[in-house]
């Protein structure tokens, strides 16, 4: 319940306050969001399996976001930024899909 309320509150805060992201960080925002989604789905699946722990979630979320963003940053510096971003999105996308499928099975038994 608390996470859901927090999520909604975050969306409202984001829309109302409209914090401006520094120009330097803007290219990494979408990648960070994909990483965050991956962490969210993984956490929800772990929750359904009864193995969820706050600490692991916080650590995995922060490290996911930072690693994904820094991979793309390093790629940008050496000129393969868009390719590495594609790689990150593909890998995280596969994970999101697999987790979503597992969640669906656990929730609806289908």
């Amino acid at each position: 319940m608390i996470p859901l309320v927090g999520l909604l509150a975050g969306i409202v805060i984001g829309i109302v306050l409209e914090p401006s992201i520094p120009q330097v960080l803007q290219p990494y925002l979408p990648i960070a969001i994909v990483a965050a989604m991956d962490a969210l789905f993984g956490a929800f699946r772990a929750y359904l399996e009864g193995t969820f722990t706050d600490r692991v979630f916080v650590v995995s979320f922060i490290s996911n976001v930072l690693i994904a963003a820094s991979i793309v940053y390093v790629g940008d510096q050496i000129g393969v930024g868009s390719q590495l971003a594609t790689g990150v999105v593909v890998v995280l996308g596969i994970r999101i899909f697999t987790n979503a499928a597992a969640i669906r099975r656990a929730l609806f038994h289908a």
Partner: protein, 258 residues
């Protein structure tokens, strides 16, 4: 494929299972989760806002540029028509200022004599037409193309042969007209030409062509036509209409000594 297989087989952080088997303490700090969820929500909102914000900005930038181009074109048209009307005004004012005595009439006749020569008045008459063009093999060899200097040679040869008025592709030449290359095109008065190049010259039909052929320009172009296979046709024309050079402006005006 091993990598993809592994991603599919183990989509959840293995730490969750490890922590569960280690029997970690039941979740206490629920607020951490709430804060993180808030951050994620804010991230979503900001990214979505930025994407939707950027799209109309790009669109408006584009349409802004288009309107600016159109405004500049309209302004150019207005300025051009203003030049025409001002030129006419200058002519009327000059006629009025000169009055109607003998000295004025001699000045006017001098103006009438000089205007066609400097290119300030449209002229018609008999003359020659020289058509030049790149050789068919110009695509393969850049040396087979007509260059700005080739056109300059033609024009100078025509002046030398006694031409009184010259135009290239309809652009009237004056003493101040530049014939230059700009990129791939040759420009006359900074307006680019399209091939083939038609050089029209008004002059004494009986001598103009034969005298042109005898100048160094004639030799130059004979050489180009024979060795580079460029198109080079010269013919007499009974009637040529050459417009005035719009680039000529009044640079100096003074009160006539009376």
């Amino acid at each position: 494929m091993d990598l993809l297989n592994q991603i599919i087989r183990q989509p959840v952080d293995p730490d969750y299972a490890l922590a569960a088997t280690a029997g970690s303490e039941p979740s206490r700090g629920r607020w951490k989760l709430g804060v993180l969820a808030m951050i994620i929500g804010a991230l979503f909102a900001v990214a979505a806002l930025q994407t939707t914000r950027a799209a109309p900005a790009l669109q408006s930038e584009r349409s802004e540029l288009i309107t600016r181009i159109q405004a500049a074109e309209r302004e150019q048209d207005q300025l051009r028509s203003r030049v025409t009307s001002l030129t006419e005004e200058i002519a009327t004012l000059r006629a009025a200022a000169l009055g109607d005595d003998g000295a004025a009439r001699s000045v006017e006749s001098q103006i009438g004599l000089l205007d066609p020569v400097v290119g300030n008045a449209a002229v018609t008459g008999a003359g020659v037409l020289i058509v030049v063009d790149d050789s068919p093999s110009a695509a393969a060899d850049a040396r087979d193309r007509v260059l700005d200097i080739d056109l300059q040679v033609v024009v100078n040869g025509l002046w030398e042969a006694g031409a009184e008025a010259i135009a290239i592709n309809g652009h009237r030449l004056s003493n101040l007209t530049a014939i230059r290359s700009a990129g791939d095109a040759i420009t006359v008065d900074y307006r680019s030409l399209t091939r083939p190049y038609r050089v029209e010259a008004i002059g004494d039909v009986r001598t103009l062509q034969s005298r042109f052929v005898e100048t160094s320009a004639g030799a130059w172009w004979n050489d180009l036509a024979q060795n580079r296979r460029m198109r080079y046709e010269i013919s007499d024309v009974k009637q040529l209409d050459l417009a005035a050079d719009p680039g000529i402006v009044l640079r100096h005006a003074g009160r006539a000594a009376s």
